[in-house]
């Protein structure tokens, strides 16, 4: 996201702090896709990701004046998505008694699908860092704060993730 985008987000948050829904358009334009990617990476479910995105953005006008004090709107929104996904995962875990987890992703053979499947098959903490850094545009410091881990931990998780993704990306190249 550009610096102009960040300024736009601050403007949007100021508008939303007033209780109106006017600022939602800017947030949607700037972050709908990255937020959805993140929600999808956490839940691996399109419907859940849609719902989390909708819930996150719809929640903003209700937060009201407190939005004025948010220093980093982008990191704040990713944190909301993270919390929403976490609480859904916890709920799903407690409801499903015999659910042994989600099915491993099965790529349809195209290069993009292979890469997507490789990302979704990463361990959760590495997946989160990759998605936040590459699609979310967050720095490692911001990622660390969002995930509650030191900056160096976030950076090393990213490096390990790239090592695991390298073969899939090569295969993806071959498929082109």
């Amino acid at each position: 996201m550009t610096r102009a985008g960040e300024t736009d987000l601050r403007t949007a948050f100021r508008q939303l702090a007033g209780g109106g829904v006017g600022g939602l358009e800017i947030v949607w334009r700037e972050l709908a896709h990255p937020l959805h990617n993140y929600a999808f990476a956490l839940t691996r479910d399109q419907d859940e990701a849609d719902d989390i995105l909708s819930e996150t953005l719809a929640k903003l006008p209700g937060i009201g004046w407190r939005l004025r004090w948010v220093r980093n709107p982008k990191a704040y929104l990713f944190a909301i998505v993270r919390n929403a996904a976490r609480s859904r995962t916890r709920r799903a875990r407690s409801e499903a008694t015999e659910d042994s987890g989600r099915e491993p992703t099965s790529p349809d053979g195209s290069g993009a699908a292979l890469i997507r499947a490789a990302v979704l098959d990463l361990p959760e903490e590495q997946r989160e860092v990759v998605v936040l850094h590459i699609w979310g545009g967050l720095t490692f410091e911001e990622i660390g704060r969002t995930m509650g881990v030191p900056t160096n931990t976030a950076a090393s998780r990213y490096r390990y993730a790239l090592l695991k993704l390298r073969p899939a990306l090569r295969e993806g190249d071959d498929e082109r």
């Binding site: 829904v21 990701a49 719809a58």
Partner: protein, 137 residues
């Protein structure tokens, strides 16, 4: 393929895309705001009322517990003994004086003679009454 290439390749691949629209989100937000505001005001009014009632009850309880207690400022210069207690002690003293025991002790003391030795403790502890008498004289 170096790190930057990897990053570019990944960024070019879309992980997912939302299948909802901005209008749907806006609608959900509007409903949320409408339903939240009256509840917020009602909640504030309820909390205020509860706090007010709690303060009132506490104040009444403190007032009740103070009933019958004389402030310390009004006790200044007064004896802490009750009048009935003073009368009892005075009566006891008068009875002691009347039986002659105390007057005898006083008289002997003036003459430098020891009073009659006590019976009991001194004997049991093995001290003779003579020793005790010597000490008194």
């Amino acid at each position: 393929m170096n790190g930057d290439d990897l990053k570019r390749r990944l960024a070019a691949t879309s992980l997912s895309s939302p299948s909802i629209t901005l209008d749907q989100v806006r609608q959900r937000a509007t409903v949320g705001v409408r339903s939240r505001r009256p509840f917020g005001i009602a909640r504030l009014a309820f909390v205020t009322a509860v706090v007010w009632v709690m303060v009132w009850v506490a104040q009444v309880a403190v007032d009740r517990s103070m009933d019958g207690i004389v402030p310390v400022s009004q006790l200044a210069g007064q004896s802490t003994l009750r009048p009935s207690g003073i009368a009892q002690r005075r009566q006891l003293l008068q009875e002691l004086m009347a039986d002659g025991g105390w007057s005898e002790v006083g008289a002997r003391a003036q003459q430098g003679v020891a009073p009659s030795p006590p019976v009991g403790d001194g004997v049991r502890q093995g001290r003779s009454s003579q020793t005790r008498l010597r000490r008194w004289s």
